[in-house]
Subunit: 257 residues, 4 copies
């Protein structure tokens, strides 16, 4: 065929299969979202609508890609865990990365209006992504703990920062003020200066969001006597809970099985 | 810091820098676009609006990413060539791949309404992507020739196929009929049976689309006598021309310099 | 410094760190050893001296590289397992591969005369190598089982082949004769035609060789009454035992800990 | 076959093909050769016999592997350039690396006695290796220039260092003395203090060694009149010449063709 003369260029494609029997994590991150959130008037330090939109994208991901068993999101980033034995795209790294990032982006733009009906997209939101493999369940749990600890540290800091700024400090002053302070001091700052108990803030801000399939009971019909007939099925749900302590994983053993 | 206990998980990220001084090609491909084009009622064998939308995305890509020097698109795929010495994301493969695919997808969804005002997106369009490096200009040109030859072969075949189907043959019959026929025979089929000279079809169908920066002359103002004052500048333009023959590259030496 | 002008060439070196927390296996293989063994008059199907030389090299490897916890050898190949958390050469694949293959080769040539005092090396023996990572202990055990099953299959076949050849068949006839026969039939062939019970052959031929550190008791001195004072220590030893059944691993839990 | 149950472990082997149409460089380096050269009483700063042995290994390499087109050695390291289009082991990195390092090591041990007849090997000499690809001829030349500049810098420094040590300074004093001095000052030190013109030192010390195939004329027979009949052929030869200036490459265009 005429094409064969040029087909040799395919030999430059590199094989990028990920190691079998390892957990595949795709982490997606907003590109330039500091500016994007300013340009689109997001609330600071957290915009609930923006987080709900991220969560809606994550739910769509689990519905579209059955081999994603867990997702964890905070701010403008989301991590997706594929089950250890997934054969999704034969574990080809580029395919997995590009398709998940593309799908996430596509849903983000399509659902934007639903969450920001008054707020037009000024330019295309973009996400970057990376793929990392982890050889054991313990290390995947540590990965997720790492992200949630990060969520905590950043959110506590950002809460202080924006309270200071809203109370009249310049951004520079607020930053200098917080430089080097510990969690304890930040909690006290909020409580004493702003009468704010950090632990009463919405869990979605403090814990981030976990998306996974959980058993739910649906009423499928009623008997003649009017008693409900229930059936349990797996449904993609969103929680804002602690995943650092092992108790979560003990209670949800089916997730990282 | 509290985080350090878990931070070891970062050590599992692999370094994915691409070889320096090589041409980086990102090829983006519609995922499941056979179904997507049916579900959204695209014209067969080619939907002009769909191609214009793809081209609009490609133009946005060159405007957003200055290190892309050339793009070639056909059907639901687009290849983007980054200049050899680009330091875009320090040449990290995952970053380059994910950001370009994400941006392309984002523009595709945002501009959809512009090209299909009557046609609502039924679900999120998704693209996959891959990154390939080429060590020499000649091989990059061969890569592009490979895609354009593919465009020609597929388009000639699809044109025949859909003419047969529209003339009453079943899809299976049309396929069997074309099985094993050569270009010459397909041209004759079109001419004799459908009175269609293949070479008179729109170049965008036959040649695909080339997007690159070219010198254009703008009239910036008029002299007092009414004579136009022109200035030449680089503008991202879209052509449908032959890039298999070396004459194109001889005429546009600045592109793959 | 004058050098800096050219030092950019270092940037072309790729990072080749192996995934952390995985078992690293280096498998070394004789290059062209069919010819090498003929040219040096090795006994067929197995040359005991040649196997002892391979084993001596493996023992040297464990003595030189403390992070190798187990080695398994058969014929002209040897597999070396590095402990999961080894930081040997920061887990850089090329370093680990090249240094182990080089050391093995060096010992092989240096010790040759010890095992073949009458038999001069005619040309440089050469080995190739590869590095593979395994994420779990079970899979490493399966890897070793794979090699030992291979040993069994090949040795049974080779034993039959050479018995046939030594009994007067041509090499081609012997091969055709064995084509498609099962283990059962091969055992019977040996027993009925050559009065040979395969299971009485030396274990080193049938099982290959396992090299690892095991507790041994040494008499370090004698008491005044002449009673021996023993001390246990780890010593690199060579066994020819079954490693397919899990019993071996249950008994030697310290190896793949 | 019985083996299939375990054969899945092969799927963990990663594909490591090197980019096509690029120059493959294997650099081999003595492992712990500072100690090795002391333990074997090498002359300082340069041991001619040790260099000749390295060169003999390099010559054997070019004779064994026809796709090596050039080698450059200095001290205990040697770089081997494979031609751009080589299909040696289908360009599999591990195979190329392990086989070349193994062969080099094997020859080193086998030829040791030839160069050090009075000097027994005390333990196995070992080399590490790495593989790097370069996309263009210019960059390969820069790579070689990088090694030769390194040779020059190190040799000038080592020559000063050992002259100082041999003249009675302690190693620490010699090192401190040279710290931060420029090439110019080092040349003057040698000339004024030790009456040594650096440029009169043997070229093998100052320039390192280049091994490649060059046309030589052999007298193949004599005519009846006694006139020699010559034939030119390619022979692996060793030179000690400048490869930083492009003049060398202009004169030997066939090497990196």
């Amino acid at each position: 065929m005429a094409n064969s003369k040029y087909e040799y260029v395919k030999s430059f494609e590199s094989n990028d299969k990920l190691m079998p029997s390892t957990w595949i994590v795709v982490r997606i991150d907003g590109r330039g979202f500091k500016k994007f959130s300013e340009d689109h008037g997001f609330d600071k330090p957290n915009d609930e609508q923006a987080l709900y939109l991220m969560n809606a994208c994550a739910v769509s991901m689990l519905q579209e890609f059955p081999d994603i068993v867990f997702a964890y999101g905070v701010s403008d980033e989301y991590s997706f865990i594929f089950r250890k034995e997934t054969q999704f795209y034969q574990r080809r790294s580029s395919k997995i990365l590009s398709v998940t990032v593309s799908f996430f982006t596509s849903v983000y733009v399509m659902k934007w209006k639903e969450f920001f009906p008054q707020n037009k997209l000024k330019y295309p939101p973009t996400f970057d992504g990376r793929v990392v493999c982890y050889p054991s369940t313990t290390i995947v749990q540590d990965y997720l703990a790492w992200r949630q600890v990060d969520c905590h540290i950043n959110n506590l800091n950002n809460t202080c920062y924006w309270m200071l700024v809203k109370s009249g400090k310049s951004k520079r002053e607020a930053q200098d003020f917080l430089e080097g302070t510990q969690a304890q001091e930040k909690n006290e700052l909020l409580f004493q200066q702003f009468n704010l108990n950090y632990n009463t803030l919405p869990a979605i801000f403090r814990k981030g969001s976990c998306v996974f399939r959980d058993k739910v009971e649906d009423i499928v019909k009623y008997t003649e006597c009017g008693d409900p007939v229930k059936r349990s099925r797996l449904k993609v749900i969103t929680y804002h809970c602690d995943i650092i302590e092992k108790t979560f994983w003990d209670k949800h053993k089916h997730i990282l099985r």
